[in-house]
């Protein structure tokens, strides 16, 4: 029997589910291994009978917690997909501001109608078994995680920084091109895709287990950033990790 899988989304852009919809020919191979029972982005049907739940987006409201807990109850394996779900993502930017101000900016005079709290990753609410990091996650890593789970294996996600992949790809270091890169503290696994394309790492995969944040900040300052801007570099994606 093929394991049944379902997809869920919370606060996010659904860009990660789009990556799955865009798998092209590999989607057929994937469908040979699993049965999709719920996937709002591509199908109408829905079922609560599933083994693996893929969750996109961060949790930004108290009332979302109930839904997450229900998914946890239904699924034997919960996988967080994309930065919002794995580390809180850019939604956590709001965590640096007053929540009432944030609501007013977004909803204007209707702000009182909407509820919000600190944006957080899925594992701040329910236990998560596997992570597909990235903003958006890459198709390759999604398949890597799915294959691992189907083989009964804990997916291996690197605990070394993006620099490792950058060096293997023989990129010119972003700092040498005048960019300010956060790759030296960011968890690899993306094959340094942004730097490969000539830009820099923004940190969308979250930090490695033991980042040397002080050294990273000093490097940013040495290459010309102000102290505030250097600290700011850690805010874009690391909002939740830094607050907790």
């Amino acid at each position: 029997m093929k394991p049944k899988v379902a997809f869920f989304d919370f606060a996010g852009c659904e860009g990660d589910q789009l990556q799955i919809a865009n798998l092209e020919e590999e989607i057929l191979d994937l469908l040979g291994q699993v049965e999709v029972v719920s996937f709002r982005e591509v199908m109408k049907e829905h079922s609560d009978d599933y083994h693996i739940a893929f969750i996109e987006g961060s949790c930004t409201r108290q009332q979302d917690e109930e839904r997450l807990k229900q998914i946890r109850k239904n699924a034997s394996v919960v996988v967080a997909i994309g930065s919002c779900a794995t580390i809180g993502g850019i939604n956590s930017l709001k965590n640096y501001q007053n929540l009432d101000t944030v609501k007013k900016i977004v909803y204007g005079e209707n702000a009182s109608l909407f509820d919000t709290y600190l944006a957080r990753p899925i594992d701040a609410v329910i236990p998560v078994d596997a992570y597909v990091h990235g903003c958006p996650m890459t198709k390759e890593e999604f398949l890597h995680v799915v294959k691992s789970l189907l083989l009964g294996k804990k997916p291996e996600i690197p605990n070394y920084p993006v620099c490792v992949e950058c060096k293997k790809n023989e990129n010119v270091c972003a700092f040498e091109r005048g960019e300010f890169c956060i790759g030296p503290v960011t968890r690899a696994g993306c094959n340094s895709c942004c730097v490969n394309e000539g830009t820099k790492c923004w940190g969308c995969r979250g930090m490695v287990d033991n980042p040397n944040e002080n050294s990273q900040k000093e490097v940013l300052i040495k290459y010309g950033l102000s102290v505030d801007d250097a600290i700011g570099k850690f805010k874009l994606y690391f909002g939740w990790e830094k607050k907790k």
């Binding site: 009964g152 060096k167 990129n171 503290v185 490097v219």
Partner: protein, 644 residues
């Protein structure tokens, strides 16, 4: 040309034609130095115009053509097993524009990949590739090749170019180089004395280009660094800003550590096993499945890099494994990886503390080139699966080719589980057991957990036996004191059962066995049955006994059993196997009972990946646990700080 070994002259136009002729021959892969942004990199050449022989340094060394970043070595198919890629299919290249220090680095790597067990893929690429070197025209800011004696080189190339303005001098270094020139270049002229003179002058100028200099002779490095191992504050201060990003080692032309990963395809039935670059500066490099990290601080990892290059490889091969290319320092963002700064600091501190340092004596080394590494595991079938405790299961395996494993007691095998990966396990059965062999496996990581889901009749892959086991021959006639803690009983049992099978050849046999609590006792029936034998003295202990369990023997850690046995330390050899923490205490107690150091034999556990002394993961200081061990005589490792 009738004389291979001479120097030749070629005009720059004719040189460009030569390169274009090489490119035009589709049977050759022609690569050379090209610009990449404001930097340089080796890459495929489409035209001679792309070649930038005036480069300072390339981002990565040409090592990538011999030990590629990612390399498929084995494919597997659940239906048919494992298949190693034919080394003959390895791609060979004509590599143009290699600087002398990078040529020297390849000569270092040749010895590493040839020693004891040779790597057929690396060697095939080396044998079939052609190196066209070039003397340095511009030296990178961080280059200190002159200090390492690697700014120029007279060996290791097929052709070597020196830019002499409107022409190149080409020094022919091999028949392959001569043939290449003959076949693809026209108008090659004999060099006159003035040209040879000009080349000599250029080479001398190169030595003076450097901005990075040691304040001492680099020959002092092995001896000097050896005195700094225990200066913790020195290493801590220098590594404080380390990002553990591995950049310094990944760009190094002499670093060769690697990882092995299994990549299943979407059928989940087939896949490939990749070898990929790894680095000892990365946090998890020496971490084992149980979670123990044998080099868990930045300072320890940072020190290991310098020791590996400055001391360990010197002891094994007689060279300091650094060619002075300066890539480590130019790629280190916090700027702490520059060996010139580190060694100058070390020298200054030596002077300050009045330490006098002599040049290290180059060790007398004969490098044994041996058998070819077998990368593809053999298939084996699980013939019996016996749960032993909640987490440990005994697997009895039979090789599908019907051969005996042929192991020594104490050796290990690498077990491959399809789609999951490979992990090392000490063989638990005695070699006297024919036809099958046994492994006792604790559920811990991916491979072991998956292994526990396999059933009798299922297949796994086996590489080995590997490593150095117990010397059962030498131990004959001796009294033996076996001390096993927890899982340590597993590899120890291979020797213990061998001794029992040949009981008359050995003196007294004493076994002390301890585990955490009664339910964790391994080989229960077998072990407790020893109590009925009068030719074996046996004692067991548990750290504690929960109320609901029954235990009538000793309660306390393993060392509480040692005072209870009486033995003659001069006639007794102690064989001690257990978790890392146990060794320190057991050895201390044995020594207090006057057991000589060389009468203590241990077996160590580390993260063994390749199993043949190449990948670097299991290294403890200068020793490779997989090759020099896992069984060690204590007298050989008591001075090895990372061992116990």
């Amino acid at each position: 040309m009738d004389d291979d070994k001479k120097m030749h002259i070629i005009s720059k136009d004719t040189f460009a034609e030569f390169i274009n002729n090489l490119i035009a021959d589709n049977s050759l892969n022609v690569v050379g130095v090209k610009s990449k942004g404001e930097k340089f990199a080796f890459g495929p050449l489409e035209s001679a115009n792309q070649l930038r022989l005036d480069y300072d340094v390339t981002l990565l060394p040409p090592k990538k053509y011999f030990l590629p970043q990612y390399e498929e070595r084995v494919t597997y198919d659940v239906a048919t097993g494992f298949k190693a890629k034919d080394p003959k299919e390895s791609k060979s290249n004509v590599i143009i524009g290699v600087h002398p220090y990078d040529i020297m680095a390849l000569l270092h790597m040749d010895e590493i990949f040839r020693e004891t067990k040779s790597d057929p893929y690396y060697l095939e690429r080396r044998n079939s590739s052609i190196i066209i070197g070039t003397n340095i025209q511009k030296m990178s800011e961080q280059c200190f090749a002159p200090s390492m004696g690697c700014a120029t080189i007279d060996y290791g190339y097929d052709l070597m170019l020196t830019d002499l303005g409107e022409k190149y001098a080409i020094d022919v270094g091999s028949h392959k180089g001569a043939d290449l020139l003959n076949k693809y270049a026209k108008d090659v002229k004999k060099a006159f004395a003035r040209d040879i003179h000009a080349v000599g002058k250029k080479k001398m100028d190169i030595v003076n280009m450097t901005k990075q200099k040691f304040n001492f002779s680099s020959e002092l490095i092995p001896e000097m660094i050896g005195r700094f191992y225990e200066k913790d504050s020195f290493w801590k201060d220098h590594s404080e800003e380390c990002l553990s990003c591995g950049s310094c080692v990944l760009v190094c032309p002499t670093c060769y550590c690697f990882d092995i990963q299994d990549i299943p395809d979407l059928s989940l039935k087939k896949g490939q096993r990749l070898r990929t670059w790894d680095g000892c500066l990365l946090e998890d490099f020496a971490k084992v499945a149980s979670g123990e990290n044998f080099r868990d601080t930045k300072a320890n990892r940072y020190r290991h890099r310098y020791f590996k290059k400055g001391k360990y490889l010197f002891n094994r091969f007689g060279f300091v494994s650094c060619v002075g290319c300066g890539r480590c320092s130019s790629n280190c963002l916090p700027d702490i990886a520059n060996p010139v700064n580190l060694f100058n600091d070390m020298y200054a501190e030596s002077l300050k503390s009045g330490i006098e340092i002599d040049s290290a004596t180059v060790p007398d080394i004969s490098i044994k080139t041996g058998t070819i590494i077998e990368f593809a595991p053999k298939l084996a079938t699980i013939v019996k699966k016996v749960p032993m405790t909640a987490n440990e299961t005994m697997f009895e395996l039979k090789l599908d080719d019907e051969t005996d494993l042929g192991h020594q007691p104490g050796q290990f095998v690498q077990v491959s589980v399809f789609g999951v990966g490979e992990a090392p396990f000490g063989v638990s059965s005695s070699p006297t057991k024919k036809g099958t062999f046994e492994l006792c496996i604790r559920k811990l990581g991916n491979v072991t957990s998956k292994m526990h889901t396999l059933k009798e009749g299922d297949k796994v892959g086996i590489r080995g036996p590997l490593g150095k086991g117990f010397d059962a021959e030498f131990l004959k006639g001796k009294d033996l004191l076996f001390v096993a803690g927890g899982l340590g009983i597993v590899p120890l049992r291979s020797l213990f059962n061998y001794v029992l099978a040949n009981r008359k050849d050995y003196g007294r046999v004493i076994l002390l066995y301890g585990c955490k609590e009664p339910r964790e006792l391994l080989f229960g029936d077998e072990i407790l049955g020893l109590e009925d034998r009068d030719d074996v003295e046996f004692m067991s202990t548990v750290d504690w006994c929960p109320e609901e369990e029954v235990w009538t023997s000793n309660v306390g850690v393993i060392t509480t059993l040692i005072p209870k046995v009486d033995f003659d330390p001069q006639k007794t050899y102690a064989v001690v196997v257990g978790p890392p923490i146990m060794y320190k205490f057991v050895i201390k107690d044995l020594k207090s009972r006057n057991v000589p150091d060389d009468h203590i034999i241990v077996s160590l556990e580390r993260r063994m990946k390749c199993g043949v002394g190449k990948c670097g993961h299991c290294q403890i200081n200068q020793l490779y646990v997989c090759k020099d061990g896992p069984v060690f005589n204590y007298s050989d490792i008591k001075g090895v700080p990372e061992a116990l």
